[in-house]
Subunit: 329 residues, 2 copies
């Protein structure tokens, strides 16, 4: 800190001068940011450059000056002063203990987040996998299906998984009957060998309650899909499963206000208002329980996803467009 | 429905045939989607085209076929069959009662959402206003400040608003003293007249508890900023205030998992683990109470914002980049 003191004082003086210059350019009936004298102001400003808890106050002072400077009518003056401002800001950002210096990072998640454009691919198994959680009635499945079609990648929803799981169950114990695997094989598995592995793993969970066995098999299936192809996976706690298995993906949560979802369900399922509201509450409860049971996390909390989108504030087409803009390199 | 019955049957037959063709191209050890006979399958498929509650099952069947078709090795065959698929999908989308037909829209919010690119500007007062709500420790302010700097637009946070409000309070009763207004004037107000209006409005709330008077004055200030300039507004329930006043804006919520926020606070504020955790819990409680008191809405629920971002899954720079990608035309 000691060796930086001169730098602090110099910067503080330049900020004070800039404020004065901006004040003159803007015109006389507009105020200046610093109404105290130079000495006191410089002391306060330089303190803010190394006092951590209150460092953000310096940011606010700087914002005040630049907000002002942007209103200068004379273009030359404006760009001259904005340049001074930018230079000061740049030098402040290089100080060791100043505001904005501490990044916020869940390093593991950043490394696996498909939306982080500057991320390095972790392996050749690094595919674009979009996990979409959604509330019933938010048109999440419509959005997922159309997005998959747009991106020309595969789409997996609960019905598709259910078909696969049912076939898997039916095949249990008939490991030698290759002909019967074919229906499963198309879901991204490349060879009969890996399919055998999968069935062996299935047998491994023997003894668990059936719903847990189904969940674990589903987890394996989701992981192997995400390792072998670009795809969109609807629900099934896929986000938590892939996170736990360190497989790159994007996790989105799509929802909409309850009232809008009720209207949507009434239209889509030919229901009355009450019936739709009751149906939605029940589905939300089931969703919440399922997610919380298998992940231990709260369903629908923004900090559990990379991004949450309120589909009602865009409509289906624009929601798809928002997601595509996010993916753009 | 009656007049569409022929169309349904025709489409169902084409879907059945496509499934067969895809099956042949993919190779013999991969299964087909429809294992029943033609007649039964066609009946089921055509029913799905007008049976609303289960219409989404048709979507899953189609997804199964296209997921398969995408694995075809022979490029010519693949593109021929994908074209057939796309044509079928297009014709299905034109049917009156099929899945994906019902949009999900909060029409008023869509009309005012700056992120909806195809939105028509509602007036010349239609500015790019970004309201950022955030949890303490999610680096939300760092993100807001840098984003404003990037976009070259003004930045308003609680410290700036507090300064303005304090000056406003000080001026109360001294309406004729123009010199004293100058400090307020720079916050986007264009003339002394509108400033007088503002102070008259301030006096209007005389008799309310002080914090409510402050809130109402803040609301007015936020509305007049949003009507006159592009800007970023941190917190202050600005999203709810602008929505209630039908002023276009984007509402973002930035958060991060509690554990990551604790680490961030420890670094930024030189706190120990316990102190940081206690501080965050207190701040979250205050935030929640403030927001819920003035808006009647739950703080931090995804359906109350256009978009929620988990800053820890990106880091500061990439979070800013994500927001900029969303804004891009």
């Amino acid at each position: 800190m000691q060796e930086n003191r001169e730098k602090y004082t110099e910067l503080a003086n330049r900020i004070y001068d800039l404020d004065g210059e901006v004040y003159e350019c803007v015109g006389s009936n507009l105020g200046r940011t610093f109404t105290g004298g130079r000495e006191r102001t410089v002391r306060t400003l330089s303190m803010l450059m190394y006092t951590k808890p209150d460092g953000h106050l310096l940011r606010s002072e700087l914002a005040l000056i630049s907000n002002m400077a942007r209103t200068i009518k004379n273009k030359e003056e404006k760009s001259r002063l904005m340049e001074k401002y930018n230079q000061i800001l740049k030098e402040i950002e290089e100080l060791p203990d100043v505001f904005g210096k501490e990044d916020i990072v869940d390093a593991e998640r950043v490394a696996l987040n498909n939306l982080v454009l500057k991320r390095e691919k972790i392996s050749e198994n690094d595919h674009l996998v979009i996990c979409i959680s959604r509330t019933q009635g938010s048109a999440g499945n419509d959005i997922g299906f159309e997005l998959a079609d747009d991106l020309k990648i595969n789409y997996y929803d609960v019905e598709i998984f259910d078909q696969v799981m049912k076939r898997l169950e039916a095949e249990k114990g008939e490991v030698s009957d290759k002909e019967n695997f074919t229906d499963f094989n198309k879901y991204g598995k490349k060879s009969p060998e890996s399919l055998k592995t999968k069935l062996r793993e299935f047998n491994r969970y023997h003894g668990l309650p059936k719903q847990d066995a189904v969940f674990f098999n589903m987890s394996d299936l989701i992981c192997s899909l995400a390792r072998t192809e670009d795809c969109i996976i609807m629900g099934r706690c896929a986000d938590a499963i892939l996170r736990n298995n360190h497989i790159p993906h994007v996790s989105l949560f799509i929802s909409a206000p309850f009232g809008v979802r009720v209207q949507h369900i009434m239209a889509v399922r030919n229901m009355g208002l009450r019936q739709a509201a009751r149906f939605l509450k029940k589905m939300d409860r089931q969703h919440r329980r399922y997610y919380e049971f298998y992940t231990g996390e709260k369903w629908g909390k923004p900090e559990n996803y990379d991004l949450c989108i309120n589909s009602a504030n865009y409509g289906i087409k624009e929601t798809i467009d928002v997601i595509k803009r996010l993916l753009k390199q």
